[in-house]
Symmetry: C3
Subunit: 124 residues, 3 copies
């Protein structure tokens, strides 16, 4: 009843989680950060980390038959509150109206990450 | 397949998110805080901020055809852990038994906010 | 339309939340920590707290007709980032592949808790 969509372009991780799970039309995507295809962290500017995290989210949605336009809700973790303005600027560019529901919190990532995003999406 | 319920009483925001999204019977509501109808933050006591955030949640649920009694799960962000007792006191008043599933975390909001709440609800 | 599964082995709490709620095949479980059957916090090592929290999660899933193998998504709160390695070691033991989708954040629990976990599961 739970599916575990994957394809060769989905970023891998050595940690114990699936990139996403699917139940009926709903896709639950694990928290995505600035990591390479093997799950290694790539430290970068806030913009670089957010672009890489959302690109990883996109690859996972694609493997599950969905896209950023079919995201229902995102939860965003911005490590440093001073990056919130930049976060909103990039978010407007990466997502498009009508936007998903959204929650954004701060100061709850390890020092190694500037940004993380998770979402629930649907298969169109 | 994703609906974006809105009506004239739904609080607006200049930020890139929808107040809520709806998929089948499920409503996903964005994190709600103490903001006015244009999305401007109203700093207040913890009680004032929590009452305003839950009132905003209620307006959004109403626009989507739901109510606080149809909330399935809430996620609560209490900035200062010393407000947790007050949070539980008010929560008992604002919600009613049988209560939704709930998670409450602390210390992860910007300094501008004392409280934020998001939820998943159903349309009765 | 919302069910509130409970049985005599489900841990109780004096706080205003249900252990879980159920809508169709989806179960939403409240944040679980190291508490006894009456909801009293049991302070322990990280390992002790995590094992007790996941055991509580298991009891609640069981009351709702589900199991750890039917968990779709977990959200994990590790208070001290230095416990993340131990968290992953125990997680591999307590859950099994193919793993649920997962997000893990840190530094957002009260001082009284080292670990908390919430999940969405399905009824098989």
């Amino acid at each position: 009843m739970i599916e575990y969509p994957l394809n060769p372009t989905t970023p891998r991780s050595h940690l114990p989680f699936s990139p996403c799970t699917k139940v009926g039309p709903l896709i639950f995507v694990s928290g995505q950060a600035s990591v390479d295809d093997a799950g290694g962290i790539i430290s970068d500017t806030f913009e670089g980390e957010m672009r890489r995290a959302v690109a990883n989210l996109q690859k996972i949605l694609h493997a599950a038959g969905s896209t950023l336009k079919h995201v229902v809700q995102t939860r965003n973790y911005v490590h440093d509150p001073r990056d919130l303005q930049e976060f909103n600027r990039l978010y407007r560019e990466l997502f498009s109206a009508p936007y998903p529901a959204r929650t954004t919190i701060t100061s709850c990532l390890t020092e190694a990450l500037k940004f993380e995003i998770e979402c629930i999406a649907v298969v169109p």
